[in-house]
């Protein structure tokens, strides 16, 4: 699968005045994979994907989609991409059905075909009962699903999802995840940004973590977790003694204090914490699997960005 490069960025840079939003980054996205852009607010994720779907001109560098240069072949590239933006930009004056029909028209899809696809997509995102409802009467989750359906109206080879599940309840999130997985099976290449590490871990084959416009890490979620935070994390209640005792019991332990809890990381294989707890019973101890959020916070820090 990892043979054909579909999207390729070389020294990609975007400046807004003095602000360098994307700073000389390189990445390849392969055909058929789900590729994630992670990073704190303002890291440059949305700017990068807006350059991919040709609505934001580059400052410098090179960016190609399916071998086509984004600065020259914007129209052709946009024909093969579906975009679900972060914000709701559905047409509030139209019904659910009409939103998709009007959008289909921008792609030159003939009316009969547009109707067929619209009905099919409404079934796909389970909005067929809301077909004739005006947008303002939809819930946030329904709007997200409709935006996903709209992004699929041109049967895109590449689907761009900018924070597809932000603000949704768990039911709606899982439905969107199911749909994304379904599309991947059909061969659609998915490019997504998200703040939810579980979402990235669930969906992405590979991802990059950006911060201040630069790529600070990239790879498979599982590889990144193993590389940066090991397999397991031990959480215990904060205690002066623990911070002193730990380095003696576990040589390579990395200790992080998070408010009233201590997180302990190790490169040692699974089971080492359980063994340790038998010897030294820490207060409120809990062993859990290391996850992408641990990686993210380790690499980008805990300081708020905004």
């Amino acid at each position: 699968m990892e043979s054909e490069v579909l999207i390729e960025a070389e020294n990609l840079t975007k400046k807004f005045g003095d602000l360098v939003a994307v700073n000389n980054i390189n990445f390849d996205i392969f055909k058929g994979e789900c590729f994630g852009f992670l990073g704190p607010n303002g890291a440059g994720k949305t700017t990068t994907i807006k350059m991919i779907h040709c609505v934001l001109p580059l400052t410098s560098g090179k960016l190609t989609v399916a071998g086509m240069d984004v600065t020259e072949k914007g129209r052709e590239i946009k024909e093969m991409i579906g975009v679900a933006p972060q914000e709701d930009n559905l047409d509030p004056d139209f019904t659910v059905f009409h939103n998709l029909m009007v959008y289909a028209r921008y792609f030159d899809i003939p009316k009969a075909e547009a109707e067929r696809r619209t009905e099919e997509l409404l079934r796909f995102v389970r909005l067929e009962e809301k077909r004739d409802v005006i947008i303002e009467h939809l819930s946030a989750g329904m709007k997200r699903r409709l935006i996903l359906a709209r992004a699929l109206i041109n049967e895109p080879q590449i689907l761009i999802l900018d924070e597809p599940t932000t603000g949704l309840d768990p039911q709606a999130r899982h439905l969107i995840w199911d749909k994304i997985r379904g599309l991947r099976k059909q061969g659609v290449t998915v490019v997504l940004t998200t703040h939810y590490m579980d979402e990235a871990a669930q969906l992405c084959d590979r991802l990059i973590i950006m911060d201040y416009g630069k790529i600070i890490e990239e790879g498979k979620p599982s590889t990144l977790i193993k590389k940066h935070v090991g397999e397991e994390v031990l959480e215990v209640a904060y205690d002066e003694e623990v911070t002193q005792l730990l380095p003696k019991t576990l040589q390579d332990a990395r200790v992080e204090v998070v408010s009233d809890r201590i997180h302990v990381f190790t490169t040692k294989p699974k089971g080492v914490f359980a063994k340790m707890l038998k010897e030294v019973p820490f207060k409120e101890a809990m062993i859990r699997d290391a996850n992408l959020e641990d990686v993210f916070l380790k690499l980008t820090g805990r300081r708020l960005r905004e």
């Binding site: 933006p85 559905l90 047409d91 509030p92 009007v102 028209r105 921008y106 792609f107 041109n154």
Partner: protein
Amino acid sequence: MKQSDATSSFQLPKLSYRVWKVWMRDRDVFMKTYKTNFLPPLLEPILYLLALGFGLGGFVQTIDGEPYIQFIAPALVSIAIMFSSFYECTYGSFVRMYYQKTFDAIIATPVSLEEVIAGELLWGATKSLVNSSIVLGVIAAFGLIPSPLFLLVPLVSFIAGLLFSSVAMCFTAISPNMDSFNYPSFLFITPMFLISGTFFPITALPQTIQVISKIFFPLTHTVAVNRALVLGKLELNLLFNLVWLLAVTPVFFVLSINLMKKRLIK
């Protein structure tokens, strides 16, 4: 995308048939609410004709040999042209651009931003055409259309409408928020409404104001042409009005598209 600022404001936009897809979107919205849309252009001229034509007109002598109500009738058509496209492409376009993010949604498709703006401008012109035609119907009902040349008025409406749309879009491109539209409304639209030969001939004004009105006010030229067509009084100086409209419209059309590009493509 990488040109100097001085030349970029007058780059000719690359437009295709996709402009009409944007136009159709706006038309579809209009048709959904057409019952309320048709009410103002129908009632407003009736009020003006009653209040100014019959009311005030009773105290006014004839102007250029025409009764007062006949004098203002073609001006009402012209005012409808101005108001409908100007407000469509200021408040209307601003809402679509800023609040509804409609432009963002469209440019994610093969339609370009230039085409989006051109579609908006053509829609503004269309609204002028529709609304002024309703007014034309009203003054016809009042028996105020003596010449068959009035059949050319819709064409004038579309061209002048395109001009007012383009001027409006320039303001939209530079306005930080909707409140800022108060400035063009009070400094541009209201003066035009009053002193473009609408309710009295501009010759009644001081010389300097006459000159300003003739150089800067699109409505002055629109009123002159429409009045001539409705009354069937063609004179040579009409050519000046026509040439003015035809020359200025493309300039603002191109300028407004470039200003919007500058605002939206960073």
